[in-house]
């Protein structure tokens, strides 16, 4: 104790240094989470844009109008970036059931899914049918 009283400056400095180390660890931790969240944010936004753009392209080039799952799947696979999976659920007055098109048969693990919806007017054989497509995109 006497030794420590003699070295008050040293003890104070040691205490402060420990405090700095602790605070730096806290800072690094929060910086890590900050960067990780930022990265996730960008990836999620990109997935959302990919889903929206692919659906818009398939709507514009008439692929969605066919309501043919094989053609739509082929259309998706042609432009979907390889790191994502996509599913479309098409609800059309031309079909009595919901048409499901997906690039992966089921989700194998819990991943974040982004989703959106677009309406379209399916023209088949001179008749037109109001339809809606819900798209879902998730990482592989």
């Amino acid at each position: 104790m006497i030794i420590l009283i003699d070295k008050k400056g040293f003890v104070l400095s040691l205490d402060a240094a420990v405090a700095v180390v602790l605070v730096t660890i806290i800072l690094m931790g929060s910086a890590f989470f900050f960067l990780k969240t930022n990265e996730t944010f960008i990836v999620n936004m990109q997935m959302l844009r990919v889903g929206s753009d692919i659906t818009a392209v398939l709507q514009a080039d008439g692929t969605l109008d066919t309501l043919d799952p094989l053609q739509i799947k082929s259309g998706i696979e042609e432009i979907l970036p390889i790191s994502y999976n996509m599913r479309m659920l098409i609800n059309s007055t031309a079909s009595s059931s919901i048409i499901i098109v997906e690039t992966e048969s089921a989700q194998t693990n819990k991943k974040f899914i982004v989703a959106g919806k677009r309406f379209f007017y399916a023209v088949q054989g001179g008749n037109a049918y109001p339809s809606a497509v819900t798209y879902e995109v998730w990482p592989k």
């Binding site: 400056g9 400095s13 605070v23 806290i26 930022n38 936004m45 959302l48 818009a56 007017y121 809606a132």
Partner: protein, 266 residues
């Protein structure tokens, strides 16, 4: 001793600065989720809005029996009179009801009984008085440079053709063709601030093209005609957009996000 105190104080200050930074980082990370939700909601509104506009545009081009194009200097409308409103209205309502039923955030206005198209940058409005077989062109914020109407009466003979106008430098022309080689061609240079008219008789029926203060109308009454209308205007610089005067409202619950959109058809 003073050096040690100074050193300790410096370290403490540094620790406070680092701690503050960590709070800022943590705060930023927490708001990212909220920002993603906002942007995702805006994306959802964008998706619903653009897809509905595309669908209504498709309906209009399929069922209105009208074609419409606009360049930087001229708008051309081709249509049949009487206007087939029933078919267009049925298709419009089918999609409208489907959209409202499938997404509670979507509200689409009814198609007005008198269809009105607006050529945005050119400031021209084409208005159909469907019950009276009148198509009218009005200016909103610009002055057209000339009007030209081409009328086909589907083989009904034109018996006479007359015009009245005050002379000026505004170009106003009507070219009509009927059966048995009959026709009516009136190319007038008129005073745009004075009234002008062209009257085409078809025996017991007649058609009138009226001009008044830069607005023009074709009154087909009980005739069946194919009409091509060309309106020239000062160069708009950019290609004008054509809107149908009906609204789409889209809201996303939980966010203060709403979009009130016109229906763009070209």
């Amino acid at each position: 001793m003073k050096k040690a105190v100074f050193f300790t104080l410096s370290l403490t200050m540094f620790a406070f600065i680092v701690l503050s930074l960590s709070f800022i980082f943590a705060g930023n990370a927490a708001t990212d989720d909220a920002r993603f939700m906002e942007l995702a909601s805006i994306n959802r509104i964008y998706d619903l809005d653009t897809s509905l506009q595309n669908s209504f545009s498709k309906i209009f081009s399929l069922d209105s029996e009208m074609t419409y194009t606009a360049s930087t200097t001229e708008a051309i409308f081709q249509q049949k009179i009487p206007f087939n409103f029933t078919r267009l209205n049925n298709s419009f309502n089918n999609l409208r009801n489907f959209a409202i039923y499938n997404d509670k955030n979507v509200q689409v206005g009814l198609l007005p009984n008198n269809v009105s198209l607006r050529v945005s940058q050119a400031g021209i409005v084409n208005w159909q008085n469907i019950s009276k077989n009148i198509t009218e062109f009005m200016r909103t914020n610009s002055t057209p440079k000339s009007y030209s109407f081409i009328i086909d009466f589907f083989e009904i003979n034109i018996t006479s053709c007359s015009s009245s106008s005050a002379s000026g430098n505004f170009s106003f022309s009507v070219a009509a063709t009927g059966g048995n080689g009959t026709s009516c061609n009136q190319t007038l240079s008129i005073n745009p601030l004075q009234d002008a008219s062209v009257e085409i008789s078809l025996g017991t029926k007649s058609l009138t093209v009226l001009f008044s203060n830069y607005s023009a109308s074709v009154n087909a009454r009980d005739n069946k005609v194919a009409l091509t209308s060309r309106i020239n205007y000062a160069d708009t610089g950019v290609k004008p957009k054509i809107f149908l005067e009906s609204k789409i409202n889209i809201t996303v619950p939980g966010l203060i996000a709403k979009k009130y959109g016109d229906l763009r058809i070209a």
